[in-house]
């Protein structure tokens, strides 16, 4: 990346974050709540995009990592009464570890096989949630106890039932993940990742360990998705098997494709549009999931690069 491109991207990301931060002062209650949810889901989509957009691997099973974070955090809080920061840390580690193990297996496959195998592993994870109902309470799920709705940290108390607190925590996580990904992509390792995406064979013949490069991104992606899941569990206080279902994997794909795979801010944009659209449509019809189908097909047929990807192609080649 050239210096000016680096500056532009940094500036753009900064502006978006500042904007998101100040939105909490002007949005009505419901939209603060929606905003919180969107930012957490954006972290999930960011994690998904790290894999699809920057190493070119399309996973159909990312709900499994979201769920790993969700249950990693939720179950330790629910059953063992862990403090929320400890549960969050554990959940991120657990999903990273899961990604390491799953990645080591599924990265032996490519393209269509990769998609199907990730889908199947996610299905196994979903069924596991149902099967170990003694711990997870299956489809019904668990609500975190009242004691888990506040964080005590360095003498201060954060009340998680406060909408503004939740908004800022979600904002902090999103900002952190965006910056992390930005730094990673601007680094030498990030260059290797995109090199793998652009031309795997060539990259290997330049002396790079392609498998390790993919695995590294897979773990980063899984950990980020897991962080989103953990945040979702702790902020909203409910965990259930729906979060592990196929539809959640598809939503991550949808957000990313719509916003633009391989663009830093695309997933965020995709989440904003999609979640708002789904929310509005659900007021009008029960068949609101129709929009998922329509958007998927429209994007894949006419805008395969997504919104930001198309903008990058036409007007802003510096966009990361």
């Amino acid at each position: 990346m050239t210096k000016s491109a680096y500056r532009n991207n940094l500036f753009l990301t900064g502006v978006v974050l500042v904007l998101l931060f100040f939105l909490q002062f002007v949005l009505p209650d419901y939209h603060v709540l929606m905003g919180t949810r969107m930012m957490v889901l954006a972290v999930f989509a960011l994690g998904f995009n790290a894999l699809l957009g920057y190493v070119g691997l399309l996973s159909l099973g990312h709900a499994m990592f979201f769920a790993a974070g969700l249950y990693g955090a939720g179950l330790t809080v629910y059953h063992f009464g862990w403090s929320l920061p400890a549960a969050f840390g554990f959940a991120v580690l657990a999903s990273a570890l899961l990604a390491l193990v799953i990645g080591a297996v599924v990265l032996r496959t490519i393209r269509v096989s990769f998609m199907i195998v990730t889908l199947m592993f996610a299905q196994v994870a979903y069924l596991m949630v149902l099967y170990f109902a003694e711990w997870t309470n299956g489809q019904e799920g668990l609500s975190l106890p009242l004691s888990a709705r506040a964080v005590h940290l360095f003498g201060a108390t954060l009340d998680l039932s406060s909408a503004i607190t939740r908004y800022n925590l979600a904002f902090g996580l999103l900002a952190l993940c965006l910056m992390l990904l930005f730094a990673y992509l601007a680094s030498a390792r990030g260059r290797v990742a995109t090199a793998i995406r652009d031309n795997e064979g060539r990259t290997e013949m330049l002396g790079f360990n392609v498998f390790a490069g993919k695995l590294e991104m897979f773990v980063l992606s899984g950990a980020m998705s897991g962080a989103a899941g953990a945040a979702y569990a702790l902020l909203f206080g409910y965990i259930g098997s729906t979060f592990a279902s196929f539809q959640y994997s598809i939503e991550a794909l949808l957000f990313t494709l719509l916003g633009g795979a391989g663009t830093l801010l695309g997933p965020l944009l995709g989440v904003l549009l999609m979640v708002a659209m789904i929310d509005k449509l659900s007021e009008l019809t029960s068949a609101y999931l129709l929009v998922i189908g329509v958007v998927l097909i429209v994007v894949i047929l006419w805008f395969p690069k997504g919104i930001l990807g198309t903008i990058r192609e036409r007007w802003a080649p510096w966009l990361l």
């Binding site: 090199a195 990259t203 330049l206």
Partner: protein, 243 residues
Amino acid sequence: MASLTPLLVTSGLKRHFGGVKAVDGVDFTLHEGEIRAIIGPNGAGKTTFVSLLSGRTEASGGTIRFAGEDVTRLPAYKRVQRGIAYTFQITNIYQTKSVADNVRMAVQGRMQRVGMPAFDFEAETAAALAAVGLSDRAETIAGELAYGHQRLLEIAMGLALQPKLLILDEPTQGLSDAEIENFLSLVRTIAKRATVLLIEHNMAVVMALADRISVLTRGQLLAEGTPSEIRDNAAVQEAYLGA
């Protein structure tokens, strides 16, 4: 010219695809500093042979030793790190990256090999581009280059790796006569620092460049020698003319 230390030795090297014996027991020795050409009719197993050397294809049998080390089971990227560079028969570059970025990836690859010393990225990149004469196109998107220039970029990436052994797979294919002239002097420059192994159909190029020539037919080594020895070899003539 050739030193006596063998850089690369294969013994009994085999590669079978199902029932097809693409490479069938090749004993081959390459010395440091030489320019070696491999020739042979179509389907003789030349590309498979160099793929085995570079690690892109796994050997069914036999061993490969490089600089005294057994590399038979090493994955390709590790062989690159040990100094075997390979340029593809069909140009294989990062189509969407700029020419300079293409070379930078190669420089980064080398940096990883020598282990992160203070390293002038841009100088290394510029040097490799200058060596092949692409300096003025550094910011062009690689996919938009003319074919001949893409081949040169391919070689620049090989150079930027600063390999001990550079394998060139049909480097002159599709080049014009003027470009070939240019190419010949380029390879001679490279050969001052690295050993060169090339697969080539253009006999004029082979005769002009190679110190020694190896001839492959049906996966086996038929003959080996200096250009004039090979030119006079009856068996080689028979293989080529199909007597």
